[in-house]
């Protein structure tokens, strides 16, 4: 098994983490403001937009992968960019998958709490920016949950990145696509090993985030 613990494996792990972190970061940057805006905005068709977002939250990864593939294929509208079977294409597919999830969770949390927070901020004399900062601070647990959910989805995703990344050795092979390949080859032991490793990495990342958050809280309490 454990010739797997070589440079190739390290490359696969690094690529997986880079892709997951990058797609989660981009999705958080897009999804959090979008979710907060969607809650406060008042426009015709808002309920339709919310319903579409909820549908996208449950969209099958292979369908998203297929759409991105069709967009990026040589004859597709963005084929000229030459992004198919690249790291960027995998990140793009994941961003399309994760952003609605983060946006949806943030929207729901904001819809439940923002009215009271805004009212309270007003009674305290907070200006517009102070109110926004307060809202984000007060929803920090929900935002954290949204990001962690997005991260988990990105880390475990295989269908979309398989289609747009192509699972090319030393290039776009990630841990999940490797597991899929190993299973096809009948190398079950190695697939299980990679699976356990993937779980451990996901656990370690969650633990790290939790520790950072706990440290932040302790700092607050020492005020």
């Amino acid at each position: 098994m454990l010739d797997l613990l070589d440079a190739e494996l390290l490359g696969i792990i690094t690529l997986t983490l880079r892709m997951t972190l990058m797609s989660t970061t981009i999705s958080a940057i897009l999804g959090i403001p979008l979710g907060l805006w969607l809650d406060r905005a008042d426009f015709t068709g808002k309920r339709l937009v919310v319903a579409i977002n909820r549908t996208l939250m449950a969209s099958p990864p292979v369908v998203v992968g297929l759409v991105v593939y069709l967009m990026l294929m040589r004859n597709g509208p963005f084929g000229f960019m030459g992004l198919l079977f690249t790291f960027e294409a995998m990140v793009l597919a994941q961003v399309l998958l994760i952003t609605p999830i983060i946006c949806g969770i943030v929207y729901t949390a904001s819809a439940r709490n923002s009215e009271r927070i805004h009212l309270f901020a007003q009674t305290m004399g907070a200006n517009r920016w102070q109110t926004k900062i307060l809202l984000i601070r007060e929803l920090s647990n929900e935002l954290y949950f949204a990001i962690v959910t997005g991260f988990g989805r990105a880390m475990s995703e295989v269908g979309a990145i398989m289609i747009v990344g192509g699972n090319i050795r030393h290039h776009t092979r990630t841990m999940t696509t490797s597991i899929s390949l190993l299973r096809n080859r009948g190398e079950i032991d190695q697939a299980i090993f990679l699976g356990i490793l993937l779980m451990l990495i996901a656990f370690a990342v969650q633990l790290l985030i939790s520790l950072i958050r706990r440290k932040e809280r302790r700092t607050d309490e020492n005020f």
Binding site: I117, G125, L134, N141
Partner: protein
Amino acid sequence: MKISKLKKTLGAFSLEIEHLSLTPGKIYGIIGPNGSGKTTLMKLMAGLLPPDSGSIDWPGLTPRDITMVFKKPYLIHDTVLRNLTYPLTLRGLPPDPATVDHYLTLADLQKYRNAYAPGLSSGEQQKLSLIRAMIFSPKLTFIDETFSNLDMESAARFERLILDRQQKDPATYVICAHQLSHIHRLCDEVLFLSNGRIEAQGTTEDILLHPEHPLLQQYLQFVQMQ
């Protein structure tokens, strides 16, 4: 401070105030049965709810001079101390440790200063929201049934605090309470609200001791029976 031709409809309920004027530095009480529009009127006056029509003028006051304490207060997900000093932080004012200690002691919250505020009991949360509204000395304070959750000793302490402050640096208070004893001890004038209309208005003594309006008489009789 003048309110004229104020109208607000919320579902089947509608509030209509033809004219109301408040004198700065006085304590006003609002009484009336449930659903009479007390909270709605307070929110409108505090600028937290836009009226459908009419005007509310608070000459010389900015939104930062006005605050409201709710029946169910909102506490930020932080310590008691951070909650108390939050309005000062917003104004860039450094909290004076002696003042902070004074308020925490007054509210019996000194031992919880570093505790998580939303974890306090409902009475403690009310007390925290009251001292938080007082620490930045707003010129106009609306208190919506906050006294009802306090034990008698705490309520008396807060009443004394408000009356003491009125002597030193008078501000305007509008207090809504079902317990008429609070209204009687604190307020200079009282408004009686019923079905979204001000049915009676006058000095506390006139309204509570010599009520003329039949609806007010009926309400007082019912409250006193309880």
